[in-house]
């Protein structure tokens, strides 16, 4: 068998050209290891510092908060991805100009994406909450009104990120599609998903409190560990959500305008 290093080199060059032309792909390579390191590193710090596993009943409590956090994290992630996947379908099928040329208004388009996000969430996450009851005895639904509040704050944030990512896709095309999968993960280490905000270094904590999910995950620990619903936290998270959603809507509008100016709406490939 003749192996041509020149042909291998040609293909390497092809992918290198692509990387060089797409900074989002380069960022993606650096982004994931960083997110993984920070998330699991801070979790380890929390467990060691709090001595959670050594305390009486601590292991069960830690497991409960962990499963609750995983479920809420999945709601957040799937909510955003459900929004973006519906949008990116239009790019994959080269259908976006048909949509934008129709009488469909941007607000109506966003309304449809929000509806699809909820439908996808119902299909994907509902069974998982039942599995959590069956396999681990953790009933997310038993949180009642607190769960409803968590859901609202998480969804508004998910749609804000979804809207912003969709705007980036409009402007930069499929070269930015990795953002659909990856952008939300910056919340995992910073949003206090698996550990309290106090686990983070002091200088990172103000940044963490700028993220609505932080208020939800702190609220979850309040319910599960202290058995209180922290309405004050949830209200703050909601207010930040409203500001972020307005900012994401404005960014979407600006990116759409920029795409029109750059003439990229007719060429939405890589």
């Amino acid at each position: 068998m003749n192996v041509s290093f020149k042909r291998i080199g040609a293909m390497v060059l092809r992918y290198a050209y692509l990387l060089r032309a797409s900074y989002t792909r380069v960022l993606d390579i650096i982004y994931w290891p960083t997110v993984q390191l920070l998330t699991w590193g801070f979790l380890q710090t929390y467990l060691v510092r709090a001595g959670a596993l050594a305390a009486p009943g601590g292991a069960a409590q830690a497991a409960g908060t962990l499963i609750g956090a995983i479920l809420l994290w999945d709601i957040l992630l799937r909510g955003q991805q459900g929004f973006c996947f519906s949008f990116i379908e239009e790019l994959w099928s080269r259908n976006l100009p048909n949509i934008l040329m129709s009488p469909l208004r941007p607000t109506e388009f966003v309304g449809a994406l929000v509806a699809m996000s909820l439908i996808r969430l119902a299909v994907g996450v509902l069974p998982v909450t039942i599995f959590a009851i069956l396999f681990f005895g953790f009933n997310l639904w038993s949180l009642g009104i607190a769960f409803a509040a968590f859901f609202v704050v998480l969804m508004l944030f998910a749609w804000s990120i979804g809207l912003f990512v969709s705007g980036i896709l409009l402007r930069y095309g499929l070269g930015a599609e990795n953002l659909v999968w990856s952008l939300m993960f910056f919340v995992q280490p910073l949003g206090a998903v698996y550990y309290p905000v106090t686990t983070l270094p002091n200088w990172l904590q103000p940044i963490s409190w700028m993220l609505p999910p932080t208020y939800v995950f702190e609220g979850l620990r309040g319910v599960l560990i202290d058995h209180v619903i922290r309405w004050d936290l949830l209200a703050q998270g909601f207010v930040i959500d409203v500001v972020l959603f307005a900012a994401a809507s404005a960014a979407f509008g600006l990116l759409l305008k920029s795409a029109r100016r750059a003439g990229t709406l007719l060429q939405t490939g890589e």
Partner: protein, 254 residues
């Protein structure tokens, strides 16, 4: 006619339209208008600016200067007043592959708020011979079938302004001829203004009552096919096109 008589408002009015990227002008300035029931050809070589012009008319590309008014609506500020009465077809645009032809037409019919949609789909299926593959996934169709589906989509709302970017590019001569007949029929029955970008000179000669010739983004000629042939002393529009493309512009207006 009295001097005070008000001229009918054109379906499409383009004034001083231009587009620049990084200070390099790629189109314009262009001035033209389309009357109801007219078919205007947009001719030019590759890179002449046809697709950019159509993109600006559709509102998908923001002009650097100038304006586009469709049905009297400024497309940069009031496009939703006009979009329901216009439609387009382009080889650069596709439809969702996993949806059947019927599902795609249903979605677009709903977007355009078409009344009695089932009957409209059946009528389009009959007119454009889509019946054999109406319930087949769009991605599984041949290029010619996909083009017919795209034309069906472009006619779903009975548009009065139709923008067509090389509508018969992937069709065999028989199907292409057949599609042209359908477009002519639509123009007649709906008094529709059509802007047609094409490389197919016989298509332009057959369909268009006026031709806009673009070269390097600027309008180098604007006349009826017959007048262009007479003025350039040529037998076919293809020869006129080559004259313009290669700079042999003896017949061009002074």
């Amino acid at each position: 006619m009295s001097q005070n008589a008000v001229a009918p408002r054109p379906t499409l009015a383009v004034a001083g339209l231009s587009k620049s990227y990084d200070k390099r002008r790629v189109v314009g300035p262009l001035d033209f208008s389309l009357e109801a029931g007219s078919v205007t050809g947009l001719l030019g070589g590759n890179g002449a600016g046809k697709t950019t012009t159509i993109g600006m008319v559709m509102g998908l590309i923001e002009p650097t200067q100038g304006s586009v008014h469709a049905f009297g609506c400024d497309m940069s500020r009031e496009r939703y007043g006009a979009l329901g009465r216009m439609n387009f077809e382009s080889p650069y645009v596709d439809m969702p592959h996993r949806l059947t032809v019927r599902q795609n037409l249903r979605v677009f019919g709903m977007l355009y708020d078409v009344e009695d949609l089932d009957a409209k789909i059946e009528q389009l299926a009959k007119d454009l011979a889509l019946g054999d593959f109406l319930d087949r996934q769009t991605g599984r169709l041949s290029a010619g079938q996909k083009t017919r589906v795209a034309i069906a989509k472009s006619l779903i709302n009975d548009p009065q302004l139709l923008l067509l970017d090389e509508p018969t590019a992937s069709l065999d001569p028989d199907t292409a001829d057949w599609v042209r007949a359908r477009l002519e029929a639509h123009r007649r029955t709906h008094n529709c203004a059509i802007l047609l970008a094409s490389h197919n000179m016989s298509e332009v000669e057959r369909l268009c009552d006026r031709v806009l010739m673009l070269k390097d983004g600027t309008l180098v000629d604007d006349d009826s096919p017959a007048s262009l042939l007479a003025r350039y002393g040529r037998d076919t529009l293809e020869e006129v096109f080559l004259d313009v493309a290669r700079g042999r512009v003896d017949g061009a207006p002074a």
